[in-house]
Subunit: 191 residues, 2 copies
């Protein structure tokens, strides 16, 4: 069992409806040791790849992206969500359905911050149906940049995001992949 | 002139209406060298203070808070904004007016992540009227924790936030304080 799987078992809370709460170390309170270790693990798994920029999406991806950017010594860009449709000429815009908020979100990056030829490593805290990840990939392509890899802390393996992205040929690295959870027993089965 | 003032002059864009855009290094694209230097500068300015937690607010405070937490080796908590009024019994909630979005935002932190007796350093990228900072201070007080200091990257010195917080006795450290800006000449006067 790796460090993140252990942490999920120790501090994650499984709720009915296939919900895993990890907001005491990943997406509300941030355990800096875990962040550091996630960053080093991504660096190891993407060894040999040239990375010129880290892309993530607000808000909980930012801590992981920042720690990783510190290792690569490259800039982070975080995609923003929400109201921007009134002024899109200077932005790359895509859409992602938010299951949390039950609505489509605009996802956008200002054009100067993603450029043709850049080698972009996309990271996020969670991968479920892959909506946010697909929106970020779309934005990188709009910019004429290259997706060199996708790094995810926790993948919900029962949902379709991981399978979709691997089938499309992306180099996806998920540090913990959850195959099943049991809210009554508070148990998690990892792949 | 310090490193952040230099960076603002080099890469900031002044727009009419007293707006400073720094989204190419601080709050959309993140210059990791600047983040590192901001973190070391806060560590230096708050030397001698015991800090057990870093508190910030999503989204653009997270990168600064993460780099600083890495130096202090303590957890980060980022306050969240938005819809939560339907379920507040497990959260500390305060309000902040957003001038950007022209509305009141709820600002909240889940109760387990701020505790009585903790020594909290609050950081943010911008300080203008101090709405977000005052909401975070309110939340720390609700938790019975102690505000040991306030660290801000860029303070807009013409607005009332800094004066209010200093008059209230807080140890506020702003790395760059802007006294005036001229959009036509693209000049900034620092304090």
């Amino acid at each position: 069992m790796n460090f993140l799987e252990e942490k999920i078992l120790a501090d994650g809370i499984i709720k009915s409806g296939n919900i895993l709460k990890v907001d005491n170390f990943l997406n509300h309170q941030i355990d800096i040791d875990i962040m550091r270790q996630i960053a080093y693990e991504f660096k190891r798994r993407f060894r040999g790849k040239t990375v010129t920029k880290i892309l993530t999406i607000e808000a909980s991806g930012i801590a992981i992206a920042t720690m990783l950017a510190d290792l690569y010594d490259v800039p982070v860009v975080f995609a923003k969500k929400g109201e921007t449709a009134n002024c899109t000429d200077d932005k790359y815009v895509s859409q992602a359905y938010s299951f949390t908020h039950e609505r489509m979100n605009n996802v956008f990056v200002s054009k100067p911050y993603l450029n043709e030829g850049e080698k972009v490593l996309i990271v996020d805290d969670f991968l479920a149906d892959g909506q946010a990840m697909l929106a970020m990939i779309d934005i990188v392509k709009q910019a004429g940049a290259e997706v060199v890899g996708l790094g995810v802390a926790i993948e919900k393996g029962q949902q379709k995001g991981g399978a979709t992205l691997r089938a499309a040929g992306y180099h996806l690295e998920s540090i913990a992949i959850i195959d099943s959870m049991d809210a009554d027993a508070q148990t998690v089965k990892f792949r």
